[in-house]
Homo-oligomer: 221 residues x 2
């Protein structure tokens, strides 16, 4: 019923693609038939679509018009559908990209600021991440339950990034030593589960500051 009655779904398998491309491995495992690289123009358009979709989802939620996204990306609607046969495919890629960005920010900040400042700035960034995640709400929840790889991948990466920052700050004596990353993650949980009031962002910002004060209190250095 309306679900691909003509078997017209080219390369659906390709659901994600790192931006940093690897050399086309000659053949590693018998299964997974090697997602061969896209033609240059295709890759370009694909990237433009993901960027446009990320903006659209952030601004208008998951129900943003796909036609509008295609238009913003400067490609035809057909191109969008060729790359992302369903809205969920697109959501997934956007979400992975978001996680990627958040983890990347952790390294970036760690290299540019004192350990405790890096942690604080990162947590502020984390608030934005949660905002996006909420924007994608329903679709994402479905995806995360249906696709357990996606869930474990992403939550693992995020908590790993947090752990690194916390450990560094603790090692540098900038925050107290008697808490660990999981405590902090737990505390940040309040951000995720808070009701969606208009001042949500501000409240969350304050929560982060408060948390940092707590963490700095009794620090060695």
């Amino acid at each position: 019923m309306g679900a691909d009655p003509h078997g017209f779904k080219p390369h659906i398998a390709r659901v994600e693609k790192k931006l940093t491309e690897q050399p086309p491995q000659p053949a590693e495992k018998p299964e997974i038939p090697a997602p061969k690289p896209l033609r240059a123009d295709a890759q370009r358009n694909r990237d433009k679509l993901v960027v446009a979709a990320a903006q659209a989802f952030a601004a208008e939620g998951v129900d943003a018009s796909l036609e509008e996204i295609a238009k913003r990306a400067g490609v035809g609607i057909g191109t969008l559908y060729r790359h992302f046969p369903t809205r969920e495919h697109l959501v997934e890629v956007v979400y992975r990209r978001e996680v990627e960005g958040l983890c990347h920010a952790a390294e970036e900040l760690a290299g540019q600021h004192r350990a405790d400042v890096a942690l604080e700035l990162w947590m502020q960034r984390f608030v934005d991440y949660i905002a996006t995640k909420r924007g994608l709400a329903t679709s994402l929840r479905l995806l995360l339950t249906a696709n357990s790889t996606l869930f474990s991948d992403t939550s693992g990466r995020v908590s790993g990034a947090l752990k690194r920052l916390v450990d560094q700050a603790a090692a540098a004596g900038k925050i107290r030593a008697d808490v660990d990353a999981s405590d902090v993650l737990h505390a940040l949980g309040g951000i995720y589960s808070a009701p969606n009031t208009p001042d949500w962002r501000d409240r969350s910002g304050r929560l982060v500051k408060l948390l940092m004060d707590g963490l700095r209190f009794g620090a060695r250095g």
Copy 2:
């Protein structure tokens, strides 16, 4: 986001309505603010819609066009939406009606046939019921998990109907006395979980016959 941006959803609360109407109870419990009876024309249209929807869902699955359903019912699409603000509302009502019919058939058959024959005929009817249930698949699964009342209501009624038939047949000595309704229901489970092959209906019919032979074997009368 596209979800009722204008607050334009009249009487959504009314999700079900028995065909056999009760006199408008003066006031029974503080909660549940009395779903006052529909105007005659409204009730008529509502019924026509449910009938048309049942046919459409049976013939084409849950994704049947709502506009088509309205047309078949001889009403405007606006009328459909007024009565059933979402596709799921309509699915729920159709499903309840199906259950109703199945239970009604149990009484009917019990009154017109020898106890074991009634049981067999009813089980054949049960196959149709399962077919519908499968047709409604995704939507219905969501509804049944989201709305536990719906689940307990319907499964209770169906197994109740079965129990009555089995008990009568056993009491009349037409089937063996050492099985009870839950055993039979368990056996019928195979129908529900069978793969959806083209000959599914035939296979299920045969399963019912086989089951009846087993039940008759060793009967007193």
